[in-house]
């Protein structure tokens, strides 16, 4: 398998409504930024891999067809990935597979969502067989799972509040982040309306328009890059059934298996010690401690301690989501790729004001559906 590195990264300014651009304009903004970072043009690109969450979010069927021109893909191979909320991560991995397989030298990968084109709440309320329609969006689905975690772990009730504040404060250091809430406090989050008990309004992610793009290259392409590359040291995807009595929705087996595969590839035996920084998909504040456990950063039911003792803060020993994460920016289809790209920015030393000093090994994590789809990667300043 060939080595693969991230040699260019771009993202849009994320906002609730990017009325200044079309869908094509949005993805092109990210793609051009990634090309500029890599000091390349569309003519240097061999193939394009694009991802987004359900087409119903914008009402465009298979929008890769319409976006081929805007992304310089005409005459080239173009693929479209859709794996629910994990799609941004899966898309990056599918693009990396092309380089690792030796099919292409340089691949442009893009993920986006322009949620202001429709109402994602309804698109996220599908009717599943044998289940009453919740019509309550993702929050309605995840609230009972969070409640289950709170009961199992005996965590203090304010863990979610801490994450909500921490991530919004980090977002102030990220000029691309959607939410810029300089006045956020624990009290403000606590007093915000309860949407889906136990999830309060300010403990949820926003709904954003935005796109993210990366240029992935092989050894030679990485050697020619002027800025430092982020080497992919491991990448993994896992899926499990949606409806199955044996599932553990708080601590899904697919997430555990995905992380185990990832750590094996990257040669990591102690993720808590060996990973310098992680960008993980936290759409509701309580998912930080839940994923810390699922990813092996903490023992079962102990993840919340890392949040409460400041380990996961920007200046902590294991910073989680220094970019502000999904809690500050959530163009759904792009959210996973933003995690992957932010991890890569950290090990390239190009994360700007939210750079973690000395970050050499970073994790990007995405999940989707009802916690049954996972995509993750580990990037490093050096190859394996």
């Amino acid at each position: 398998m060939n080595r693969c590195a991230v040699i260019g990264i771009g993202q849009t300014k994320h906002a609730q409504k990017r009325a200044d651009v079309s869908i094509a304009g949005l993805v092109r903004e990210a793609a051009l930024a990634a090309l500029a970072d890599a000091e390349l043009t569309f003519s240097d690109i061999d193939a394009v891999v694009i991802g987004k969450a359900p087409d119903t979010f914008e009402g465009v069927m298979m929008p890769e067809l319409y976006l081929a021109t805007a992304l310089g893909a005409v005459g080239k191979p173009m693929m479209r990935v859709h794996t629910a909320g994990s799609v941004g991560g899966s898309t990056a991995l599918v693009a990396a597979h092309l380089v690792q397989a030796g099919v292409h030298q340089r691949v442009l990968t893009v993920a986006f969502e322009k949620q202001s084109e429709s109402e994602a709440m309804w698109a996220l309320s599908p009717k599943f067989p044998f289940q009453p329609p919740l019509l309550a969006g993702a929050g309605g689905y995840f609230a009972p799972i969070i409640r289950a975690y709170m009961m199992r772990s005996d965590a203090p009730s304010d863990v979610g509040l801490q994450v909500a504040v921490k991530d919004r404060l980090s977002a102030l250091k990220n000029p691309y982040a959607h939410l810029q809430m300089s006045d956020i406090t624990l009290e403000m989050v606590r007093n915000s309306p309860m949407l889906w008990d136990p999830i309060r309004y300010l403990e949820t992610c926003p709904s954003s328009d935005g796109a993210c793009a990366m240029i992935l290259g092989d050894d030679q392409a990485a050697k020619r890059a002027l800025r430092p590359p982020a080497w992919i040291r491991g990448g993994a995807m896992r899926s499990e059934p949606t409806m199955f009595s044996g599932r553990n929705l708080v601590d899904p087996q697919a997430g555990r298996d995905c992380a185990a595969d990832l750590y094996r590839q990257a040669g990591i035996t102690n993720p808590r010690r060996e990973i310098d920084v992680a960008e993980i998909y936290v759409p509701f504040s309580w998912f930080e401690p839940m994923w810390l456990e699922n990813l092996g950063f903490a023992e079962r039911n102990q993840g919340w301690r890392l949040t409460m003792d400041g380990t996961t803060a920007l200046n902590g020993d294991l910073p989680i989501n220094p970019s502000g994460g999904v809690m500050a920016t959530n163009p759904i289809g792009a959210s996973g790729m933003l995690r992957f790209a932010e991890a890569a920015l950290q090990v390239r030393g190009l994360a700007g004001d939210h750079q973690i000093d000395g970050a050499r090994i970073a994790m990007g994590h995405a999940f989707g559906g009802g916690s049954q789809f996972f995509a993750m990667w580990i990037v490093g300043s050096e190859p394996n």
Partner: protein, 314 residues
């Protein structure tokens, strides 16, 4: 590139499915795995293709995955494309060398809604889709461009039409295996000697609709012009498109086109491209051909095309 072959195929086409997506997929997955002598836990990578706009709900691939029974958890991915592109992704994944088998499936219930109109939503959402040009009207523009090109013989002119294809519901599954594993599992695997796909502009006005440039480029990269296929399975829902494809692929009269009947008689949207690969592979495996060509298409007027060359090897 590592040798990868189609070792089994199953398809299910029905006029109108009295089943949900998972129930459509389950029999083809079971049959394809059974023909390969494999169980689900023997599969290294699973990839599927479908479109939410057929089912009319987001995440329709999520429910269909239950047909595979992904427990313990599996390595799995999905493209919002015809299953032929899911097969391409699986072929790429098999090149890594750490796994030897992959399961690919596709499904679509095209009869649930007015598919001719639904496909208009693939167009530019600002300038084209609001006019709701239906798929057959666009295919007719393409047929007209071909007729006006002056390239057609009198007999071909009669074929350059845009009769709407028969729309059906369906699912298909293919099992891929690499090198020795393929030979162990199948007496005559259909090896993929080349596979490539290309896309063109979404703007119909900037394309010469009488030519399929993307098919030509894909064919060149798939090594099509160095091979002599006995059969070609072309994903051409309209007969004029078949003429355009034969032209782009430089297929002479010796090549039998669409021995399966093709997509004009059975257009299972999102599945028809994968079926072309399965049909071509089957004809190699059952010794009707040493080499066969399969083609898949996506988008209005053959906007995006995939070529897969299949052959028997000693």
């Amino acid at each position: 590139m590592r040798d990868v072959a189609v070792i089994s195929f199953s398809q299910l086409l029905v006029d109108k499915a009295e089943a949900n997506d998972a129930e459509l997929v389950m029999p083809v997955v079971r049959e394809a795995l059974g023909r390969a002598g494999l169980q689900k836990q023997d599969i290294g990578f699973t990839c599927s293709g479908s479109s939410d706009f057929l089912t009319g709900m987001p995440f329709s691939f999520v429910g269909a995955l239950d047909a595979v029974g992904p427990w313990p958890p599996i390595e799995e991915s999905h493209v919002e494309m015809d299953g032929a592109w899911a097969l391409y992704e699986a072929w790429v994944r098999l090149q890594h060398g750490d796994i030897d088998t992959a399961l690919v499936y596709a499904f679509g219930r095209s009869t649930l809604g007015p598919i001719e109109d639904i496909l208009a939503l693939q167009l530019d959402p600002y300038y084209e889709a609001p006019m709701w040009p239906d798929a057959t009207s666009l295919a007719a523009l393409q047929a007209r461009a071909l007729l006006d090109s002056g390239r057609l013989s009198d007999s071909d002119k009669k074929k350059a039409t845009a009769e709407p294809p028969k729309i059906v519901d369906g699912a298909a599954a293919v099992v891929l295996a690499s090198g020795d594993r393929a030979r162990k599992l199948c007496s005559r695997p259909a090896f993929i000697s080349g596979i490539d796909h290309r896309i063109e502009s979404h703007l119909l006005g900037v394309r010469d609709l009488s030519h399929s440039v993307s098919t030509e480029i894909a064919a060149k990269h798939a090594g099509c012009f160095e091979k002599s296929p006995t059969f070609a399975e072309l994903h051409a829902p309209y007969s004029a498109q078949e003429l355009i494809l034969c032209d782009a692929l430089k297929l002479d009269k010796q090549v039998t086109i669409n021995p399966s009947g093709g997509a004009q008689n059975n257009n299972a949207v999102m599945v028809a491209g994968l079926i072309r690969i399965g049909e071509a592979a089957t004809r190699v495996s059952n010794r009707e051909a040493d080499c066969a060509l399969a083609h898949a298409s996506s988008g209005p007027c053959l906007q995006q095309n995939l070529i897969c060359m299949l052959e028997a090897r000693a």
